[in-house]
Amino acid sequence: MTSHLSRRTFNALLSSALGGGLLATYGSRRARAATTEITVLNWKGYGTDEAFALKAFADATGIAVKHDYFNAEAEMLTKLRTNPGAYDVVLINSARTQQVQADGLIDAIDLAALPNAKDLAAPLRDHPNLQVDGKPYGVAWLWGMTSLAVRHGKVADAQSWAIFSDPKYAGRLALFDDSITQVGIGALLTSQDINNPKDLKAITATLKAMKPNVRLMWSSEDEWNKAFAADAFDISDYWSGAAARSIKLHSLPLDFIVPKEGAIGWLDTLAVPSSSTKKAAALRFINYMIDPKFYVIWATQSGAPASTNTAAMNALPADDLSHKIYKPEDLAKLKFMSALPDDRRQAFNDVWDEVKAFYAK
């Protein structure tokens, strides 16, 4: 009748593929590293996995660094909780430090053990968000702000977040799909505390009023870059470090402005999980991360958020974008995110979900 792959041959082919696969995975497990190895949990592409840094650190200390990544803070929490002993350094937003500490997941840090910590800006190093019972539970590492980004040449003289509901820019707004940020912007526009706004209804109304302008939501730097490059929007809220990179690496025509109502600040820290078995090595890595030698190369090569190390910031070349973005007079207008109790976080999430559903109608 017709030629046919016999069942036997079929089975043989597939089982050898399966067997080969199993052997391959076994084989690779045998080749284990002989040096100390630590695992870092962080956002992808956020400093700790820079190739030059890993090499320099390994050369200097003999410690190899592996990475695991998360795409959202909630994921970071899940991974920490479900993988005791797997991570040695973890990046934690200072707004989450106390929550994570309350679950017993991280250790207090003895800053005296980190030689580079002496140059950290005191207000950041000793920020209340990081302290529990007078001890810091993370090393202040990077800080930045979420502020206004506009297309150079198309948007003149943007001074206020109110531009988000300005009819001139109908259909040209991209919003960060994050409830904390958006509620924060709503709070800034209604003169409330971004961490504890009393009138959520006013914020909801303010956000809903932006509907005619909203074109799309973005949730990663890459998404922002691609949409901006494709001319999908002209105004947006955006991160300072990402803005520096968009200008430097992709030559995108954007202006980064701190409006008169202020901007939302965030402080990222490096912490050591309590379940880690290589805490000494972890601390050495953290020390390297706050070293000006690391920061200056990273910032000038790719663009980065601001370092908490004043020596590092001073070591940047005078024409570096950071000086353009982090102007001293703006620092006073910066409102840092702090810890939120669960029910408030949920309330913010509900506000944003309701607003998004409204945008979609």
């Binding site: 030629s3 792959l5 593929a17 399966l18 696969g21 995975t25 592996k66 990475h67 795409n71 899940t78």
Partner: protein
């Protein structure tokens, strides 16, 4: 009528390949941000050649997808047989139970698996990935082979058995041959489901061991460069070749070529 059918079919295929053509074209575009017009360049293939993590992720994906396909098809075919050919209480319930794995967003199942595997000590890793992928592929296999069985006449099998054949022999010589297209289609499906599965893989993989969709998904944050297009293009090329070879050997066309 035949000409109309063929034209329509080709138009449908053109629609299916429109974004794929774009995907392949962008692999050869110099711009990292996918801007038009296209400036021809091979730089993404070059950087792919030195991108060891992406290569190992692709290898892992292929191995896991192959294993998933084999296991899910075998296991699912058996279940489909029972569901279609045997009458028993609870049959409709079992059919309905095939829906949750496809209905519930993978994010939920992924988180649920992560937590459950953590509590029961199964943990993360390639074995967990395999368990998850096969579980997600099984409903597709059962549904496809089930549909195939529905169109076949059940009475031939029974006739054979009344003439003295054992059920197993009846299955292999009477039911399986016309069922082969469905079985192979189900295997291809299971392969595809596993290959494209990123949510479960994301939750259940250990640091350092990754699959292609996970690499792509996590690149969203850092920079989803045309290297991804390059590897997808290579992948497309290789899978086209493999599948053509496979088709040569196993004749997926059913019984239409004797005309």
């Amino acid at each position: 009528m035949i000409a109309l059918g063929r034209t329509y079919l080709l138009a449908t295929i053109a629609f299916l390949y429109l974004p794929i053509a774009v995907m392949v074209a962008m692999a050869f575009n110099d711009s990292a941000l996918y801007t038009l017009p296209i400036e021809p360049s091979l730089r993404w293939f070059a950087s792919l050649a030195v991108n060891a993590p992406l290569q190992s992720a692709t290898r892992n994906s292929l191995l896991i997808a192959s294993a998933t396909s084999v296991i899910a098809t075998a296991v699912g075919a058996m279940a489909a047989l029972a569901l279609e050919r045997k009458r028993f209480r609870g049959r409709s319930l079992l059919r309905l139970l095939l829906l949750p794995p496809i209905a519930i967003p993978w994010l939920i199942i992924g988180t649920a698996m992560l937590v459950f595997f953590f509590w029961t000590g199964i943990g993360r890793g390639i074995h967990a990935l395999l368990i998850g992928h096969v579980a997600l592929a099984i409903p597709y296999v059962v549904l496809i082979i089930g549909a195939g069985l529905q169109t076949l006449r059940a009475d031939l099998e029974e006739a054979a058995m009344s003439l003295g054949s054992t059920p197993i022999h009846a299955f292999f010589s009477i039911t399986l041959p016309p069922l082969l297209p469905s079985v192979l289609a189900a295997a291809l499906f299971a392969f595809a489901v596993s290959l494209d599965q990123f949510v479960i893989s994301y939750f259940l993989s250990t640091p350092g061991v990754s699959t292609l969709p996970v690499e792509i998904y996590s690149s969203i944050r850092k920079g989803f460069t045309p290297e991804i297009n390059a590897i997808s293009t290579i992948f497309l090329g290789v899978s086209s070749a493999l599948v053509l070879v496979f088709a040569q050997l196993s004749h997926l066309g059913g019984k239409r070529d004797s005309r």
